[in-house]
Each structure stands twice: as structure tokens, then as C-alpha cells.
């Protein structure tokens, strides 16, 4: 559903729609009370249908694919480890960045429980950091693909290892132009 208050221009346009809708309801109610009620139902339905069906700008466009790379002679691995991961197996002799995405459901994101999920991710990150000597461990966004994108902006990697299910691997694979595999 499109947020009618997404931007100032859209809010202004929504105001225009509300004015027109209110005028229609007033005109209907002026003729007959029940006609006004019917017009109100139609207006509310029409606005709801419009907000539901009007495309959200940019939503249909494919997400840009992030590329990355490292200087010659250096092999860097970006590891995605969801909260609760107890150990990660990585190749020897490589630079490692472990990202722990603060996974949260839509309900948790809406109710602010995302902070609790972030605490879980921080606990996992702290545990992994103590086990993986020399590796950087960070907490990332609640969406694993976004967490990988964010990490690649500051950590050029040659491959991405995912400690997660196939769905998570596929989601990350769609967003980055790097070899992505399950750890």
C-alpha cells in the first residue's frame, strides 16, 4: 500500500483528493442523507483502492547489484551469521568480516521489539568475536541482503559465506555480484 504522506508533494496531492472526496460527500448528503452515506462509502473505498493499487515509486525496479573487489594478493570473505550462530568455519589465511543481521519480523519492527532482536545479534557478535581471533564482527541491518550491502560498502570482499537457509542465500545472491555460498 502506498503511504499518502510519503513526501510533501504526495501529501499535498492527498489533501486535494480529500477535498474532492469531502465535497462529493457534502453534495450527496445535501440531496439526501443516505445518498451522502453511500457517497462516503464509495469515496472511502475509492481512496483505499487508489492507495492500494497505485505503484510505489521504485518498488518495481530491480535492486541495484552491488559489486566488490579486493587488492591483488588479498582474499577477503564476508560471512553472514544470523543471531544464535555458535561457530563459523572459514578458510585460513583470509581477511574476515562477520556480519550478524539483527533479524526481526514485521511485527517486531512495527512494535519496536527490533531493539530486542538487536541485543540478540550483539550477543551473538560478541560470542563470535571471542572465538574468531583476528576477525571483525559487526551487527547489521534486519534484512540480511541489506546488511551485506552495507558491509560491502566498507569491506571489499571476494566472496560471501552465509550461515543460513537457502532463502537467505538466494536473497543475498540477487543483490550482490559476488560468489555467494552456504558456509
Amino acid at each position: 500500500m502506498r503511504n499518502p504522506l510519503r513526501s510533501e508533494a504526495e501529501a499535498f496531492r492527498f489533501l486535494g483528493v480529500v477535498i474532492v472526496g469531502a465535497a462529493a460527500i457534502i453534495a450527496g448528503a445535501y440531496i439526501n442523507t443516505w445518498l451522502g452515506v453511500a457517497v462516503a462509502v464509495i469515496v472511502f473505498g475509492a481512496i483505499g483502492w487508489w492507495l492500494k493499487h497505485e505503484p510505489v515509486p521504485g518498488a518495481a525496479e530491480p535492486a541495484p547489484v552491488v559489486t566488490s573487489g579486493t587488492p591483488p594478493g588479498i582474499h577477503r570473505v564476508l560471512v553472514v551469521a544470523p543471531p544464535g550462530t555458535e561457530s563459523v568455519t572459514v578458510p585460513d589465511g583470509v581477511e574476515i568480516l562477520v556480519v550478524v543481521p539483527a533479524l526481526s519480523s514485521t511485527r517486531e519492527a512495527l512494535t519496536g521489539a527490533v531493539d530486542d532482536r538487536r541485543e540478540d545479534a550483539e550477543a551473538t557478535a560478541a560470542a563470535l568475536e571471542s572465538r574468531l581471533h583476528g576477525a571483525r564482527v559487526e551487527v547489521g541491518a534486519d534484512d540480511p541482503a541489506v546488511a551485506v550491502e552495507d558491509a560491502l560498502r566498507v569491506f571489499g570482499a571476494d566472496e560471501v559465506l552465509v550461515v543460513g537457509d537457502d532463502g537467505m542465500v538466494d536473497a543475498i545472491r540477487e543483490r550482490v555480484a559476488l560468489p555467494v555460498s552456504r558456509a
Binding site: 503511504n3 504522506l5 510519503r6 513526501s7 510533501e8 508533494a9 501529501a11 499535498f12 492527498f14 489533501l15 480529500v18 477535498i19 469531502a22 460527500i25 457534502i26 448528503a29 451522502g36 512495527l110
Partner: protein
């Protein structure tokens, strides 16, 4: 933003529920005799507020095009019209001839219009800061997020007024 809209819908929704309860369930004419609503003043106020939305939009489109003085003029006009609306609302309250102690109808009238006026007051405070920042040169064509957010809030306040005006004064 969705949480803000949802909380506002619930807030105004609770007042509108009380309004419709008083008006429909009791089955008495609105407004109850012998009171009369100041429809003319409210209509003038409505035009002022709708015009202020247009000037707000003008301010935002101006700064997007790099027209700083257009933005400043738009924000200043919006602030002045918002202030006029609030003064008009106070004038209406003083001359309306009833008070909250006169029954359910006046109570819900003051609650609904007062709740909206509170939103206008907050909007005016935001507009004041935006206008001061605009005159200090804080906004450019590339960086004008403050104007954008303030504009969204101001249009939202106007949308709510259309709903309040239509249900309380006209229907």
C-alpha cells in the same frame, strides 16, 4: 510514518466515535438547540488553511528548484496563515456562545476542534523553526529535508481539518 498515521487515526478516531455517538445514537439534531455553529467563520478559516497548504507546497517546490527566496516567502506566508487560522479559531471559541459545561454537544465540539488546534499549534512551532532556518540559509536545493518533513505534517493537519470541518460544521 505508518505508526504516526496509525496513532493519529486512533486519536482522532476516538473523538469521532464520541461525536457520532452523541449525534447519531442520541438521535437529536446537530447542533442541539439552542446552539448554532459558526459555520461562516469556520469556512473562512478553512479557505485560509487550504491556501496555507498551497503556499507550503510552493515553498517546497521553490527550494527543490533552488529558489531560496520563494521558499522563504512560502514558509512565511504559511506561518502567517496558520497563525490567522489559530486566531480565527480562538475568536470563534470566544463568540460561540456555549462552553464545555453545557452538555455533550459543546464538549465534543471543543474536543474535536481543540485537538485539531493543538496540531495546528505544533505545526506552527515547526513552521517557525523552519522559517528561521530558511532565513539563516540552512536549506538548499540538495538539502531541504526539514522543509519536506514539515510540509508533510502541515498537509496532514489540513487533511484532518477537512474531515473535522465536513463532519462537525457542514454535515
Amino acid at each position: 510514518m505508518y505508526l504516526f498515521i496509525a496513532s493519529e487515526i486512533m486519536l482522532f478516531g476516538s473523538f469521532f466515535t464520541a461525536y457520532f455517538f452523541v449525534r447519531i445514537v442520541n438521535g437529536v439534531p446537530w447542533p442541539t438547540s439552542p446552539y448554532h455553529l459558526p459555520v461562516f467563520v469556520a469556512t473562512v478559516n478553512t479557505f485560509i488553511l487550504m491556501t496555507s497548504s498551497a503556499t507550503m507546497h510552493w515553498a517546497t517546490t521553490s527550494i527543490k528548484r533552488g529558489n531560496v527566496w520563494g521558499m522563504r516567502a512560502g514558509l512565511l506566508l504559511t506561518f502567517l496563515m496558520g497563525l490567522s487560522f489559530l486566531i480565527g479559531q480562538l475568536y470563534e471559541y470566544m463568540r460561540v456562545g456555549f462552553n464545555t459545561s453545557d452538555g455533550a454537544f459543546p464538549t465534543i465540539f471543543f474536543c474535536l476542534t481543540g485537538l485539531h488546534s493543538c496540531h495546528v499549534f505544533i505545526g506552527l512551532a515547526i513552521l517557525a523553526f523552519m522559517t528561521i532556518r530558511a532565513f539563516r540559509g540552512h536549506f538548499t536545493a540538495e538539502h531541504h529535508h526539514g522543509v519536506e518533513i514539515g510540509g508533510i505534517y502541515w498537509h496532514f493537519v489540513d487533511v484532518m481539518w477537512i474531515v473535522v470541518f465536513t463532519t462537525v460544521y457542514i454535515l
